[in-house]
């Protein structure tokens, strides 16, 4: 495979009449990433993935997979790429195995010989003879993964792979994604489940109303939010005044007995010394951990529009 990144999307726009489903989206997925594409339902995740797979034509902008554009290179652009959008779909009147045989024949390249192997991976071998029409949702999702794996992909595009699965099914699906990633497959998965993304992904993009609010590493995103601290002191009002006067502390606020502020780590060290010198006893000085969920809700519900964009720039 070429040295081009698995996914490079630039300025992707998809307009349906008045509605802009995807608005100037840039995405870069590097080899080895497990990339989480996060957004509320209807944010434009699936539409973006469809454009990446060449199923729909962007109104403007371009998408390249390993340097190849599906609009220009046709099916060849999908060499080494597999996945599904909006849940995998199969012919209900054919068996699971027949469905895979069909797709393997479409692929060529010895894909047929890998059917048994992938059926084992997704644990569907004993049901492969049965018609897909009788499969549960979870079995179809797993068959979708199997159908992707017979292509021996270097890049997997998965659209909400755990949606609709029961807790055990979700766990199995996540284990599978983790395992595939550990084998060197780059994964781009869309999700609205934050815990899932936090658990699986090293890089994320957050999309709302068709626009990317953040793209970068998950750690950096979490770090932008972890510069908030809270302080509990014996004399809250005196402590607040001290904090206000202390260099390096911002957004100081008194919330009940608790003082909150933003600061870098060295400013925290200086603050603890200052508190001691002022003979001001404190009971706790703790960093406020922000979960991805809080960040996500902040960003996607629009309350923190400006900080979110600022965060993107900080990280970049």
């Amino acid at each position: 495979m070429s040295g081009e990144p698995p996914v490079v999307a630039r300025g992707l726009v998809k307009r349906y009449g008045e509605i802009v489903a995807v608005d100037d989206v840039d995405l870069t997925v590097e080899a080895g990433d497990v990339f989480g594409y996060l957004g509320p339902n209807g944010a434009g995740k699936t539409t973006s993935l469809r454009m990446l797979l060449g199923l729909i034509r962007p109104t403007s902008g371009s998408a390249r997979l390993f340097g190849r554009d599906p609009l220009v290179d046709g099916a060849r652009a999908l060499d080494g790429v597999a996945g599904f959008v909006e849940g995998p779909r199969f012919y209900p009147y054919l068996s699971g195995r027949k469905n895979l045989e069909l797709l393997a024949d479409y692929d060529g390249d010895g894909a047929r010989g890998r059917i048994d192997e992938v059926l084992d991976i997704v644990e569907l071998r004993d049901r492969a003879k049965h018609r897909v029409g009788g499969y549960s949702h979870g079995m179809r999702q797993r068959l979708g993964i199997a159908a992707s794996l017979i292509r021996r992909p270097q890049l997997l595009l998965l659209d909400e792979p755990t949606t609709g699965l029961d807790p055990a099914g979700m766990r199995d699906m996540r284990d599978l994604v983790r395992r595939l990633a550990s084998e060197g497959i780059t994964v781009l998965l869309s999700s609205h489940l934050l815990a899932e993304v936090e658990e699986l992904c090293n890089r994320v993009a957050i999309i709302r109303k068709g626009r990317i609010l953040y793209e970068g590493s998950l750690q950096a995103l979490l770090a932008t939010a972890s510069d908030r601290y809270s302080l509990r002191a014996v004399e809250p009002e005196r402590a607040r005044l001290l904090c206000l006067a202390q260099p390096g502390l911002e957004d100081v606020a008194l919330d009940g007995d608790e003082i909150t502020f933003r600061a870098a780590e060295d400013a925290i060290a200086a603050l603890s010394i200052a508190l001691g010198q002022a003979r001001l006893g404190f009971t706790s000085l703790t960093p406020q951990t922000t979960s991805l969920e809080e960040l996500f809700l902040d960003m996607t519900e629009g309350a923190a529009d400006v900080p979110a964009v600022a965060a993107t720039e900080e990280v970049a």
Partner: protein
């Protein structure tokens, strides 16, 4: 195996696995049987106002021609529409189109494979009707020389050749119906609308041909070509309607298929 051949093979496999395929082929088989059985039971001499109708009970070889005459009006167009109108639209609605379009086959290959499979099904239906017609008719009335439309006697062997030519030129005309169905199926993405619309198209083409004042366009209507095979049954054979059917049908085949192809190559494949 080429890309198109792979797609074609699996399109056939899908047709074999679907009930509606048997509905069409089954009808093509049952109609000649029912036709022969009802004539034998009633003891009639056959319809007098259709080609070869007068000599229907003289030889089993007349049966496929007479049944073709009746089925060509709406029976075979409906059988064709059942699959042609469905072949792209059903995959759009089931979401399987995106499944196969994210594999290693180009859209052009997928489309071509579908068209070939649809035409194959149509040919099988016509041949099944003819073979069953010959067999059922021969059981009822024996295998004797055919009397041509010009009144001459045609030996059994040559009658079978005429039947082959007849089916050939009829299949070319019916392919025009199939092409229209595939276009509707691709453009409307609605299976039921495409099946009904295709049948309407076939009926309209024939209706236009019998309305007064349409004489000028009549030779160029698809419905007119459904009867081109009558030319083979004259002695000597009248090639004029056959030759015209060939080029007129080429247009009815090429225009909708080209349109459908271009739409299929560019269209967005998204959930409905």
């Amino acid at each position: 195996m080429s890309g198109v051949a792979r797609v074609y093979k699996w399109e056939l496999a899908k047709l074999v696995a679907q009930k509606r395929t048997y509905l069409g082929i089954g009808a093509a088989i049952l109609v000649p049987i029912a036709f022969v059985v009802s004539l034998v039971v009633q003891g009639g001499t056959g319809p007098t106002d259709v080609p070869l109708g007068r000599t229907l009970t003289a030889t089993g070889l007349a049966t496929p021609f007479v049944v073709l005459f009746f089925l060509s009006i709406w029976g075979l167009p409906l059988i064709t529409a059942l699959v042609a109108g469905d072949i792209v639209a059903s995959e759009t609605n089931n979401g399987t189109l995106k499944t196969i379009l994210t594999r290693s086959r180009d859209r052009g290959e997928v489309f071509t494979g579908k068209v070939l499979a649809c035409l194959t099904y149509m040919i099988v239906a016509v041949l099944a009707m003819a073979v069953v017609g010959v067999v059922a008719g021969s059981i009822a009335w024996g295998l004797h020389p055919l009397t041509s439309l010009s009144g001459t006697s045609v030996p059994v062997g040559h009658s079978l050749v005429l039947l082959g030519e007849t089916l050939g030129i009829y299949i070319v005309a019916l392919a025009g119906v199939a092409a229209f169905g595939i276009m509707l199926s691709t453009v409307t993405r609605n299976s039921a609308a495409s099946v009904v619309g295709t049948l309407m198209f076939a009926l309209l083409m024939q209706l236009l041909g019998v309305l007064p004042g349409t004489e000028a366009i009549r030779p160029y209507l698809l419905g007119t070509q459904f009867d081109a095979w009558h030319g083979f049954l004259r002695t000597p054979a009248d090639w004029a309607p056959v030759v015209r059917a060939l080029w007129v049908c080429a247009i009815y085949l090429a225009a909708p298929l080209t349109a459908a192809y271009l739409v299929f190559l560019r269209r967005d494949v998204a959930g409905e």
